[in-house]
């Protein structure tokens, strides 16, 4: 079983660093002490790193608590080339219930084209059979409005389920292709 990150040691370290920082501030020397300033700067940098690490650990902990591996389902979206389809929005339904409706800005579409993968949905599903439907809206070939749905039947077992929605090009027909893949 994967151990959860415990943020407490980091909190203790943070308190210690804050105490270290507070001590010299209480007795600031009248003349500018370069060495002392350097130490304070190093402490601040260390504190900053501790905060970032703590934030990451808390985020992971929150995710594990809210979405335990036994019920977790995550849906990702990626674009492979995608010259035949300009993405505008994606609506995601799980068991006929809308769980995500995402509108893409130009910047987000560019990020996807550069290889970015978006976590479109993170939720919980009981073990058993479920239906995931994704509706893609945008501009297709020749700037025509384009809306396409794709369906995936998933059998959720014990363990997290990861689904990837990929928009790619079907060169033979000069049409976009919407592929759904399950990751184990």
């Amino acid at each position: 079983m994967k151990s959860r990150p415990n943020p407490m040691p980091r909190l203790v370290k943070l308190a210690a660093v804050l105490a270290m920082l507070a001590a010299p501030l209480a007795a600031v020397p009248s003349e500018n002490d370069a060495a002392s300033l350097k130490t304070v700067d190093q402490d601040v940098q260390a504190l900053k790193k501790q905060l970032i690490d703590l934030n990451r650990d808390l985020f992971k902990l929150e995710e594990e608590l809210l979405y335990p591996a036994s019920t977790q389902v995550a849906v990702f979206l990626s674009v492979d080339v995608g010259t035949f389809f300009a993405l505008d929005s994606v609506t995601l339904k799980v068991d006929d219930k809308e769980v995500a409706n995402y509108l893409y800005t130009d910047r987000e579409v560019q990020a996807l084209h550069r290889g970015g993968v978006q976590k479109l949905y993170l939720g919980n599903l009981k073990a058993g059979s479920h239906e995931i439907v994704a509706f893609f809206t945008g501009k297709g070939p020749h700037e025509r409005d384009y809306r396409r749905g794709t369906t995936l039947k998933v059998d959720k077992a014990i363990g997290a389920k990861y689904v990837e929605l990929r928009i790619s090009d079907r060169e033979a027909s000069l049409q976009p292709e919407f592929v759904v893949r399950q990751w184990e």
Binding site: D88, S89, L103, Y104, T105, D106, R107, E108
Partner: protein
């Protein structure tokens, strides 16, 4: 009764983070509020049937053009054509976004129109005017201070 109120149904308090959203503009482009982080933003909720809103929309648009500040208008008519027609008649140049499902209005608990929010570079609400046009004599110096920060 209070327990039944959803968590989001509270107006963003001063110094709190304005809820992020993405909406389609009347020009067909999608805009996301968080993509404007790094500079102050004026967020303005309005509708065509609201008399004071028209005056406010035009004044804020002029302010945006004069200062280079992004002014995002969120139209609550629920109709793209209607919003485009009104924005066109007022010669609005700044982005006009259409909240067709009223989802953004709900997350901001828009009870009175117009609602104008001044956001800082981190997306926090620094000033708000609800039910009345934004007071430019107050807004302009605050905006200048934020731009200089």
């Amino acid at each position: 009764m209070l327990a039944a109120v959803p968590a989001l149904a509270a107006p963003p308090a001063l110094d709190s983070l304005a809820p992020d959203f993405a909406l389609k503009g009347i020009d067909g482009r999608n805009l996301r509020l968080s993509e404007f982080r790094g500079e102050p933003v004026v967020l303005h909720f309005w509708a065509s049937w609201c008399g004071p809103c028209r005056e406010s929309v035009a004044a804020l648009d002029a302010l945006g053009a004069r200062t280079g500040t992004p002014v995002l208008g969120v139209n609550l008519d629920g109709n793209n054509e209607r919003a485009a027609a009104v924005a066109g008649s007022l010669h609005i140049q700044s982005p006009t976004l259409v909240d067709a499902r009223q989802s953004v209005a709900r997350s901001y608990d828009v009870a009175k129109l117009p609602l104008t929010l001044l956001l800082d570079a981190d997306g926090n609400v620094r000033a708000a005017w609800a039910g009345v046009p934004a007071n430019l004599n107050e807004l302009t110096p605050q905006l200048e201070r934020l731009r200089q920060d």
